[in-house]
């Protein structure tokens, strides 16, 4: 196996250095090397969105990105969403609207919604539904998730 690679990236606003195998996915690096276990594994092949993170403003499935690919880039995970004043408006909206049940898809949904609202702060319901079609939830029927994202728009 080749040697570990030294990577420097901005993760949740902080400069982080880490070593990783060239074949390790970003998801594995986050969870195993950086102990950021808020990002969850749902399928490991890009079909469920549970591991969604925001990389240089782009929504990506961290299971489809290699750890070494984040060299010199900026990454936001669920752990980086809270500001000094507490919960992010999306987190507040998920809480207020009870937009989760088992919670394992939730970090991915919140990151997906963040990527959408950063780009399109006044997304319509149809746009929200379309955007979130890459994130699967088996508990909620999506109703309250869509409501929460629309509510967060209003509060931001």
């Amino acid at each position: 196996m080749p040697g570990r690679v030294h990577v420097i990236a901005i993760i949740n606003g902080e400069k982080r250095e880490f070593l990783c195998e060239p074949l390790q996915t970003l998801l594995e690096v986050l969870r195993d090397e950086l102990k950021l276990t808020g990002t969850k594994e749902g399928c490991s092949n890009g079909n469920c969105g549970a591991c969604s993170v925001v990389l240089d403003g782009l929504l990506v499935d961290s299971c489809l990105v290699l750890g070494v690919e984040v060299e010199g880039r900026s990454l936001v995970t669920i752990e980086g969403l809270m500001g000094s004043d507490g919960l992010h408006p999306l987190q507040k909206a998920f809480l207020e609207n009870a937009a989760l049940q088992c919670g394992i898809c939730t970090p991915g949904f919140i990151m997906a919604a963040k990527a959408l609202l950063d780009k399109k702060p006044r997304a319509t319901e149809a746009e929200v539904r379309q955007w979130c079609a890459g994130n699967l939830c088996r508990c909620t029927g999506y109703d309250k998730i869509v409501r929460a994202i629309l509510a967060a728009e209003k509060s931001m």
């Binding site: 549970a50 995970t77 049940q101 079609a133 088996r138």
Partner: protein, 781 residues
């Protein structure tokens, strides 16, 4: 009940803050020092002899700690358990790792343990299994035939069980039919539960005190403990099961799996902690599936649509081995086949059949969605045959509201209901008459709108122990701590339902303490008294009631202690605002904190009376006297594009009655998710095995679960008929949406296609199937 401040309110969930910040701990988030990783070698054939297994290359790979096969453990580990008790049930051996033969694609054959997940997987690829493939038995109807290949040598055929029951005089009912007997074969297709968190197990063994700790993503920690102890041969009190945060179950984690026995064995063998996280493809192959019945229904009716009698034949594809409850699920279909309707003459034949597939077992609804689908399709078939309105057919057959408690011909006693009222509410919300007029107009414009109705009743709050394989009660301990904080211990270990919130609501009202002063502990068998688990829409109705009962005991003790401390003979105290106050005399009052301190210090003046024990806790085991029977009415309105067969929702209306509601937020959540899963069965989902027994819908690319774009807004309301079965009046709601929605949606599509002469279509109603039906149709004149 005490003054309700939290119960019946939209109390935000305690659980959510840790979940939305990524701070919760699921099995995969556990890291133990010295942790080893397990990869499993699984069968690529549906049915084959294992001629040999060569593990030598795998053993040589650097980093590999152990490779185990069925041969090594066959005399050391017991069978994967099945709890079903059915007369003459065939229960073939269900080994932890295959011995001699494999019987479904994905069956575990061997396991590799290594220090790293990658190495474990690489080594697994080096294990060479030499198979002799055999012809797989895939079609359950063929599996039933004499002369079919027999999957288990120790059984004489593939029929795991047959049950036949009848009530009333079915032959007479069919003789007296005023219209041709309506017959229909319907397929309740095989589904994949697909919890977003796959299964996962971590096991650790301390040889010094012979203690095994097993972390597992499970709905039933205590039952798992008892049963895993049996598999590995440890005394039960040497096994501790911890269920951390669970990412959904839907019945798929109401089970004991091979991997739980395997990981326990490996931890004991190696003396190091081991971890296995199921991959998504493994989850599709080797976690239980749901439904999978071929159902033949015949129904005899009068001209006005009154049902006289019904015959049902169920052929249930059980898969290759029994999981925990596999053979019991089809029985629930027969039990609930009469739905909300009053007809006394029923006959039911059920065949449970082995095939070379993954086992079926309890998937959200577990036998009841199948029943509701059948009877609600039948009601529409009756309406179509007799040219009656499907609303009228249902209303004509409902069990009347003055008939409760109502004993069905299948031997169940429905607790309480008002079907007419609930249905009427749904019809008004949907503006049913208006919809029919709109439909007529649209048809003239060549647009195909369909209105689908389903009125359902389900069996919940499982259940009385007499009807359950391993106890149907639930337990709770409520402890007031020395500082007045409250801890609830529940056996109803949740996996997304929100018991930490609902049980705290109940306790906050009963004890008059702040909601935030209460926490709920669950899922650890070393801290929580024995319990049963969360499934069968039972957590609030049975587990919540146990909490309520423990609170009543505790209040009695609080009253006695307060009477003693406040020097009064009366023990009638009001618990409110964090204080304990004598009824009618506010001068006799003390804070909850002071009372708790006195109970624990046990030395305050005056000292505790001789018979009063120090401490403040109570434990209750609630044994329900009956099941509960929630009900509801769902109306789906769709439009079908005749050019493409695509189905678009126009409306979705539901009125559900789950008895008394503790928290509307969590109840709505359950209904929403349930409807989505029922929609999945109606329109999208189908686990397909090819003729060789290969699962060809083995990834999320091939097996479509509903996405945000597939789901309409839900228009929901309720009626609230309390259950007399428990003091909370709660019925249960976890499965209601799944049960109500599937027939409503299918009925809507078939209704839309009525102008094409379509009478029935089997699920899932993918656009190609709908398009084909339109293409093959001869439009009515």
């Amino acid at each position: 009940m005490a003054v309700a401040k939290y119960v019946c309110t939209r109390t935000k969930r305690k659980e959510d803050r840790r979940l939305i910040t990524g701070l919760s701990t699921y099995v995969d988030d556990l890291k133990l020092p010295g942790l080893l990783h397990v990869a499993i070698i699984r069968s690529i054939h549906a049915y084959a002899k294992i001629k040999s297994i060569d593990i030598s290359s795998a053993q040589k790979l650097p980093g590999v700690v152990a490779v185990v096969t069925g041969e090594e453990i066959k005399d050391k580990l017991g069978s994967v358990p099945c709890a079903a008790q059915i007369p003459d049930l065939k229960v073939p051996r269900h080994p932890v790792l295959a011995i001699g033969k494999v019987r479904y694609v994905g069956e575990a054959i061997a396991a590799v343990v290594a220090g790293d997940r990658y190495v474990a997987q690489d080594a697994a690829d080096l294990v060479e299994v030499n198979y002799e493939p055999l012809a797989a038995v895939v079609d359950p109807l063929k599996a039933l035939e004499p002369g079919s290949t027999v999957i288990h040598e120790e059984c004489k055929d593939n029929i795991a069980f047959v049950t036949k029951t009848a009530a009333g005089d079915v032959a007479k009912a069919f003789r007296e039919a005023e219209a041709p007997i309506i017959k229909q074969r319907m397929i309740n297709q095989r589904l994949i539960p697909m919890a977003m968190e796959t299964r996962g197990v971590v096991a650790q063994y301390q040889p010094g005190d012979k203690m095994l700790t097993l972390w597992s993503s499970s709905q039933i920690p205590h039952l798992l403990r008892t049963l895993v102890a049996g598999i590995v041969g440890l005394p039960e009190n040497h096994v501790r099961v911890i269920v951390p945060e669970v990412g959904g179950g839907f019945g798929s984690k109401l089970n004991v799996y091979r991997e739980e026995g395997l990981l326990a064995y490996l931890a004991m063998k190696l003396g190091r902690p081991v971890k296995w996280i199921e991959g998504r493809r493994e989850n599709f192959l080797a976690t239980i599936h749901g439904r999978d019945q071929i159902d033949d229904v015949e129904i005899a009716v009068k001209k006005d649509g009154t049902v006289l009698g019904l015959k049902l034949k169920v052929v249930a594809d059980l898969g290759a081995y029994h999981q925990l409850l596999t053979p019991l699920i089809p029985g629930l279909t027969g039990a609930m086949i009469v739905g909300c309707y009053r007809f006394p003459n029923v006959s039911i034949e059920t065949y449970g059949v082995f095939t070379n597939k993954m086992a079926t077992d309890a998937y959200r609804g577990a036998g009841r969605p199948e029943a509701t689908y059948l009877i609600e399709r039948v009601m529409d078939l009756v309406a179509a045959e007799l040219k009656l309105d499907p609303v009228a057919v249902r209303q004509n057959n409902f069990v009347p509201m003055n008939a409760f408690p109502y004993t069905t011909p299948t031997g169940l006693t429905y607790d309480s209901a008002n079907y007419q009222n609930c249905f009427q509410k749904a019809l008004e919300m949907a503006n049913y008459k208006g919809l029919r007029e709109e439909q007529k107009k649209l048809r003239q414009q060549g647009k195909y709108m369909g209105i689908g109705i389903s009125t359902y009743v389900e069996i919940c709050a499982m259940g009385p122990s007499s009807g359950m394989p391993a106890g149907g009660w639930e337990s709770a301990t409520v402890r007031i701590e020395p500082t007045g904080k409250v801890t609830i211990y529940t056996g109803s270990s949740p996996h997304g339902q929100g018991q930490e919130t609902t049980f705290s609501q109940i306790a906050a009202d009963e004890l008059g303490v702040p909601f935030d002063d209460i926490i709920v502990q669950h899922g650890d068998t070393s801290t929580v008294q024995y319990g049963i688990g969360t499934f069968g829409s039972r957590a609030t109705a049975v587990g919540g009631t146990a909490v309520y009962m423990a609170l009543q005991q505790l209040k009695e003790k609080v009253g006695k202690l307060a009477a003693h401390l406040l020097k009064t003979d009366s023990s009638a105290f009001v618990l409110e605002g964090g204080r304990v106050t004598l009824k009618g005399d506010s001068s006799k009052s003390m804070s909850f904190f002071d009372l708790a301190q006195a109970a624990y210090h046990a030395k305050s003046l005056p000292p505790l009376p001789p018979k009063m024990e120090p401490g403040l806790s109570a434990t209750a085991f609630f044994e329900p006297s009956n099941y509960t029977f929630p009900f509801g009415a769902h109306i789906a309105v769709v439009e079908v594009d005749p050019e493409t067969g695509e189905i678009n929702f126009k409306r979705y209306v539901g009125v559900d009655d789950c008895g008394r509601i503790i928290n509307p937020l969590t109840v709505h959540g359950q209904i929403h998710g349930g409807i989505a899963q029922g929609l999945g069965q109606a329109l999208l989902e189908e686990a397909v095995y090819d003729e060789n027994g290969q699962l060809i819908t083995g990834t999320l690319m091939d097996y479509a679960i509903p996405k945000s774009v597939d789901i309409p807004w839900f228009e929901l309301d309720k009626t609230e008929t309390p259950s007399p079965v428990n003091p909370l009046g709660v019925k249960g709601v976890g499965e209601a949406g799944t049960i109500g929605s599937t027939p409503a949606i299918v009925n809507a599509v078939v209704d839309a296609l009525a102008p094409f002469g379509v009478r029935h279509l089997d699920m899932p109603l993918k656009s190609e199937r709908v398009w084909q039906a339109i293409k093959n149709a001869k439009p009515r004149a």
